[in-house]
């Protein structure tokens, strides 16, 4: 008889091993899925994981990994702080959108000035946009005890309506022949978040993501606030006795994650995307939730997880084009990754025991 037995202590070995085991299991079952679709499984897996890193055109894909991974890491780092303390910001997508609108709007207000102050101003405005949008669920929670999961999620849809509205009205390109969408910031040097070194994919968003990783690491390991965050997540009652102010923690965690999501949106709109448009957001805010958990809510883990997620996106597109795998199969593949991670996570707190339960 096989049963699960609770471990007295969570297993540290399994905690580190589960992401790796999950990736391997995803490869195995993903391979079966691709084979069932009549595609060569090994070739497909190789295309997804190998081609972007070491394939013939890796010189192009490697920088793209940074472009795709940076917003995921930046958002996930912010989310992980709250998640550790049991504060659930599910609305990063909305904060990402508001960051882009505020950032682009702040810049476009000064079009066509070429002042070097425009870009820094846009950065501040972008962070502010995300922060203020996250403050809504934060204040409602601390004042009226509303559920931040619901409020932050619902505000995503409000943000999407704002996005449609400004794309069609306030920020619409006056030279766009009546079509929706703002001016393209890529063609306006003062506001363009260009590659810092051409061909590397390194833009300010990537730099910020790396800085955020370091800051989060220091915060969690060396700083009182970080200690409070961890304590609240692990033992809320003890945290109360230790003098943690729960309201302040909610404001801090939601505010920080909102500001980082807003920054991600701002760097995206002024760089790779270039334009505020109705379909500007592509789900980074939601994917970042997966990245945060895949990275075990640990800053370094998130960095790796963001890279892995970016890899499956880029490799997935290559597999679609080269092997004609359907897009849905790639999505199932990515879903498997989270599924296996959560499934194997069980082994951190439980172990499989074979035989009859011992009588205590």
């Amino acid at each position: 008889m096989i049963r699960l037995e609770k471990r007295p202590q969570p297993s540290r070995a399994w905690s580190l091993a589960t992401p790796l085991v999950a990736v391997l299991a995803t490869m195995a079952f993903g391979g079966l899925l691709f084979a069932a679709l009549g595609k060569p499984p090994v070739e497909a897996i190789r295309t997804i994981f190998w081609e972007p890193l070491f394939g013939e055109f890796a010189f192009y894909y490697r920088p793209q990994l940074l472009v795709k991974g940076a917003p995921l890491v930046l958002i996930a780092i912010g989310l992980s702080l709250g998640f550790r303390a049991g504060i659930w910001n599910i609305g990063a997508e909305g904060q990402y959108i508001m960051g882009a609108i505020f950032g682009a709007g702040a810049g476009l207000a000064f079009y066509p000035s070429d002042s070097f102050l425009i870009f820094p101003f846009m950065v501040i405005a972008g962070a502010f946009g995300g922060w203020i949008w996250a403050m809504i669920p934060a204040v409602l929670k601390t004042r009226f005890g509303t559920n931040e999961i619901l409020v932050s999620l619902m505000l995503v849809y409000v943000a999407e309506q704002f996005l449609a509205s400004v794309s069609l009205g306030l920020l619409k390109n006056p030279e766009g022949f009546g079509f929706p969408g703002s001016r393209n910031l890529q063609s306006w040097d003062a506001a363009h978040n260009a590659e810092l070194i051409a061909g590397t994919g390194m833009h300010w968003g990537v730099v910020s993501a790396l800085i955020a990783v370091i800051f989060a690491y220091v915060l969690l390991n060396r700083h009182m606030t970080g200690y409070h965050i961890r304590l609240t997540g692990e033992a809320p009652r003890a945290a109360r006795f230790a003098g943690v102010n729960p309201a302040r923690l909610v404001l801090f965690c939601l505010g920080t994650s909102g500001a980082l999501a807003g920054l991600a949106g701002m760097f995206e709109v002024s760089g790779p995307s270039g334009q505020v448009s109705i379909d500007f957001n592509v789900g980074y805010g939601f994917t970042a939730i997966i990245v945060a958990f895949l990275g075990r809510l640990h800053p370094v883990g998130i960095l790796l997880a963001g890279g892995l997620m970016a890899l499956t996106y880029i490799g997935g597109d290559i597999a679609q084009s080269n092997l004609q795998l359907p897009a849905a199969a790639i999505q199932v593949f990515q879903g498997m990754l989270l599924f296996f991670l959560l499934a194997f996570d069980l082994l951190t707190n439980f172990r499989i025991a074979i035989g009859k339960p011992e009588v205590a």
Partner: protein
């Protein structure tokens, strides 16, 4: 003996080399899709065009596609990837791919690009679109005749010129045959989202609409109309014949195949040039799906007569006298709208209620 061996292997090697060279000669055509190929609408019809290219040229071409590509940096990456992998011609089939297409085209001057529904061109970027408003005129005629509540519901996707043109064209022709007709417009802000589209259809039906026109790509509004009973619809982008004869009484079908074949041929022959194509019913780019038996014979006749007059060029759907919504004059008696105004249309014609979202 050794010599023959050597010769044989040389011949084999030559054969292989020739084979490889032959494979290189294949013209590679890429397609970037905004939705899934199984959407039953917009992307489905582009993919039918791709298949037509394969059927037409067989071994001479190789086609590749990537579906569900978000507009923006993802689209740019997918196009770059296709160009790197040796595509000679790339069709980018959504308006939002415009700037990415231009960006990638700059980096690959030898690759030809074809962008659907946009307005930015370059030496290696053509644009193409269809005069869907011609089909809307036929729909409007049928809708005007068929409605009993005199309320026609319209599911708009995004308030862009193409969609506004369609609303105006349908309204003008519904009004012509039924002066009491009224349009109710709901904006879904999506091209493809079955849940949102179904909600929009239900709202319109609850407001008394017994005809639903849609500029979104899924069959969800058709299903909603079927459940509601006495409501008719029109297939959008694709025939949607599975809902015939009712609620779907006719359809506008995008037929990209002739254009895709012609452009691929131009690349093979080396005669490709950057052009701006805007074809309608006459050229076969816009098809009218079979008008079902749910429509009375005389209505069907009127609709087909209108279709014929548009196809042979004797009638233009935007012919004056027409006023703008605010009552100001737009087209004088007998005057025909020019393509420039149509391409950037951002106003309703007189009689339509409500505002275009800003």
């Amino acid at each position: 003996m050794k010599l023959t061996n050597l010769l044989t292997s040389a011949a084999v090697a030559l054969g292989l080399a020739a084979g490889a060279a032959w494979a290189q000669d294949k013209t590679k055509v890429g397609f970037v899709y905004v939705g899934p190929v199984g959407d039953g609408g917009w992307t489905y019809e582009h993919d039918q065009g791709r298949k037509a290219v394969e059927a037409e040229f067989g071994d001479q071409v190789e086609t590749v596609y990537v579906e569900n590509v978000a507009e923006g940096p993802d689209a740019e990456r997918v196009m770059t990837q296709m160009a790197l992998e040796g595509a000679d011609l790339i069709f980018t089939t959504s308006f939002g791919y415009m700037d990415p297409t231009i960006n990638v085209a700059k980096k690959f001057p030898n690759v030809k690009f074809e962008h659907a529904t946009g307005y930015k061109r370059a030496d290696n970027v053509s644009t193409y679109s269809a005069r869907f408003y011609e089909g809307r005129a036929v729909q409007g005629t049928i809708a005007g005749h068929m409605t009993e509540s005199n309320i026609v519901g319209y599911i708009g996707s995004y308030p862009i010129p193409e969609v506004i043109r369609g609303i105006n064209s349908a309204y003008i022709h519904a009004k012509k045959v039924n002066p009491d007709v009224q349009f109710k417009i709901v904006w879904a802000f999506t091209w493809f989202d079955p849940a949102k589209e179904a909600d929009a259809a239900k709202v319109l039906i609850e407001q008394g609409a017994d005809v639903i026109l849609q500029h979104t790509d899924s069959t969800a509004p058709q299903a909603a109309a079927q459940n509601a009973g006495n409501v008719i619809t029109f297939g959008q982008a694709s025939d949607m014949a599975e809902y015939a004869p009712k609620p779907r009484v006719s359809s506008i079908i995008d037929n990209w195949a002739p254009y895709y074949i012609a452009r691929t041929k131009a690349v093979i022959d080396g005669t490709w040039e950057s052009v701006d194509t805007w074809d309608g019913i006459g050229a076969g780019m816009v098809g009218i799906g079979e008008i079902s038996d749910a429509v009375p014979a005389e209505v069907k006749e009127a609709a087909l007569a209108l279709k014929e007059s548009i196809a042979n060029g004797t009638y233009h759907p935007f012919t004056g006298p027409l006023n703008k919504q605010d009552g100001s004059a737009w087209l004088a008696e007998g005057e025909v709208a020019d393509d420039g105004t149509l391409a950037g249309m951002n106003f309703y014609v007189e009689g339509i209620e409500g505002d275009i979202p800003q």
